[in-house]
């Protein structure tokens, strides 16, 4: 399945860094997101456009994940040649991430 089916995302920028927040629609899917939406998978998903380090932060009470990706905007500012120099579309790209297994919200009752 794809991330888009069970979570929503929001991206923003600071200089050459993009962050993408991930929030599950159903809080029962939090452990599944922790397990499936790993740094490795996200870094690989953005490999064509992110050249720096990717880190994952967890906010357990919302709950939400925050991915911070460096070297994501060709330097940022008006010297960036990237079409989306503010990374506002990156949130949508992450929603295409492929996940394995069945999340709790999808288990038959």
């Amino acid at each position: 399945m794809r991330l888009r089916e069970i979570a929503f995302t929001r991206s923003g920028d600071k200089g050459d860094t993009v962050n993408v927040g991930v929030v599950p629609y159903d809080t029962r899917d939090w452990p599944y997101l922790l397990d499936q939406v790993t740094v490795e998978r996200v870094a690989s998903h953005f490999a064509r456009t992110v050249s720096g380090a990717v880190r994952r932060y967890e906010l357990p009470n919302l709950p939400a994940l925050n991915f911070v990706m460096q070297g994501a905007l060709d330097g940022g500012g008006s010297g960036s040649l990237h079409l989306d120099a503010l990374g506002k579309t990156y949130q949508s790209h992450l929603l295409d991430l492929e996940l394995d297994g069945v999340p709790p919200s999808r288990h038959p009752a």
Binding site: F8, R10, Y25, T49, Y57, G79, S92
Partner: protein
């Protein structure tokens, strides 16, 4: 007329960015539900743009919408409301004049306008020869290419102005969340080293500066996230602060919706490590933040921790890095992608053969690779737009990129159309820092 003693820590969002819609701010102002309105008007690169305009014309270089804002806030100001905003740009004196003239024209007398000075730190970064990590050098190495240096200034300068009875406070590079923090300190009589309380004010400011982003803006992704019904412009949020809890809501008759989902989405926006959200006022740890629905369009946010403010202030030094050329051409119909790729090959060779020097050069295909890089090929497109972008040290080389691209019209591939090109100066904002003590913020008051 209410003064500080009777103002409540009820704060509305006036704007989330330069050019934001004004009507939702005026609706909040006239509702009677808020005593402070905070306007975020600058992004990371805005100060450089204002600086350039002031250099070209000493009477410009600030956000001229300030006049319209003051006009729309006539009733609010007249009944004791306070407006705080980053309208000053690079020209606090001219911005003050603009606000005073607008207020006087409305017949508003006895209103104090305060402008903050001190965020322009070009002298300090030069004297300190600051490190510019992103460029791998120091200030002196690129001094002739530096256009501006501004420090993010915080709540303390705003609070001082409010204590001087200012009711319109304008600054240039105000930290976004510091405006609400200052409002909270002013209304509640807090101390500027009450870290837990400043953290709450900061989170309120961070949320409010999202504007319509809290009321359903940037949220619709049908069918998974349906759009807020209707087409009316979305209302802006307001925050009522009660101890360690922020009650976030919107006006009952405003379009939009405030939910834990819209709030969670906003909490994460433009943040990195939640344990280390640093502002000029405080170090916030919001790792354990909670967002709970406590009523219709009413969300309670709490669980933020406050630690002492960092010893340094964040500074953005803007540096010229060359000239950016962008040209776009379209091809359509069967085989359009193949023809566009042929155009790319020809242009690459042409630029190399004619000695056009590009520091960076890239080719993107709108609809295929322009946002996230070349992906898995889907079906052949009906149309494609080739985007050529280059960064050149020399403006003539940047122009040459556009000229060679335009000449593709006469070259091999068939059916090129809809050409557009531009050459602009390119700048980067390099983050650095200065010790707090080397930045002095003062304010000047003019009364209508």
């Amino acid at each position: 007329m209410p003064g500080a003693a009777t103002r409540r820590p009820f704060i509305g969002c006036g704007s989330a960015s330069l050019g934001d819609r004004l009507s939702p701010a005026f609706a909040l102002a006239d509702s009677g539900e808020i005593d402070y309105l905070v306007f975020d008007r600058v992004g990371e690169m805005s100060m450089a743009a204002f600086e350039a305009r002031r250099t070209a014309d000493p009477a410009q270089g600030y956000d001229r919408s300030l006049a319209d804002v003051v006009r729309g806030l006539a009733r609010f100001l007249g009944s004791g409301g306070v407006a705080i905003g980053s309208f000053a740009g690079a020209n606090p004196a001219a911005a003050t004049r603009c606000a005073i003239d607008a207020a006087r024209a409305l017949g508003l007398h006895g209103i104090a306008v305060a402008a903050l000075y001190g965020d322009n730190v070009l002298a300090q970064v030069r004297d300190a020869n600051v490190e510019l990590d992103r460029l791998g050098c120091r200030f002196a190495d690129v001094a002739d290419r530096v256009t501006s240096a501004y420090a993010y200034i915080g709540a303390d300068g705003i609070v001082d102005a409010l204590r001087d009875d200012a009711r319109i406070v304008i600054g240039g590079r105000l930290a976004d969340s510091s405006m609400a923090t200052a409002a909270l300190v002013d209304a509640s009589g807090l101390a500027l080293d009450d870290w837990p309380a400043l953290a709450v004010g900061t989170m309120a400011g961070h949320l409010l500066e999202g504007g319509s982003g809290i009321t359903g803006g940037g949220f619709a992704d049908p069918p998974f996230r349906p759009a807020v019904p209707g087409y009316a412009p979305l209302g802006f949020p307001l925050a009522r602060i009660d101890g360690d809890t922020i009650h976030l809501t919107k006006l009952a008759d405003a379009a939009g919706t405030v939910t834990p989902a819209t709030v969670a989405s906003r909490i994460l926006y433009e943040t990195q490590d939640p344990a280390s959200y640093l502002t000029p006022d405080v170090h916030v740890d919001f790792t354990d933040v909670t967002a709970e629905e406590i009523g219709p369009d009413l969300v309670a946010v709490s669980g933020v921790r406050g630690l002492p403010a960092p010893p340094t202030l964040r500074v953005i030094v803007t540096v010229r890095v060359g000239w950016k050329a962008v040209t776009e051409v379209s091809y359509g119909g069967p085989g359009c992608l193949t023809r566009a790729q042929l155009a790319e090959e020809i242009l690459r060779q042409r630029l190399a053969d004619t000695g056009v020097e590009t520091g960076k050069l890239r080719f993107d295909y709108h609809g295929i690779s322009a946002l996230f890089g070349a992906g898995v090929a889907r079906d052949e497109p009906d149309e494609v737009r080739l985007r050529v972008a280059a960064l050149c040290d020399d403006r003539r080389h940047a122009r040459a990129v556009c000229e060679e691209a335009a000449l593709l019209y006469f070259d091999r591939p068939a059916g090129m159309g809809a050409t557009q090109s531009s050459v602009t100066e390119a700048q980067v904002g390099v983050a650095t820092s200065l010790p707090r003590g080397s930045v002095r913020v003062e304010h000047e008051v003019v009364v209508t």
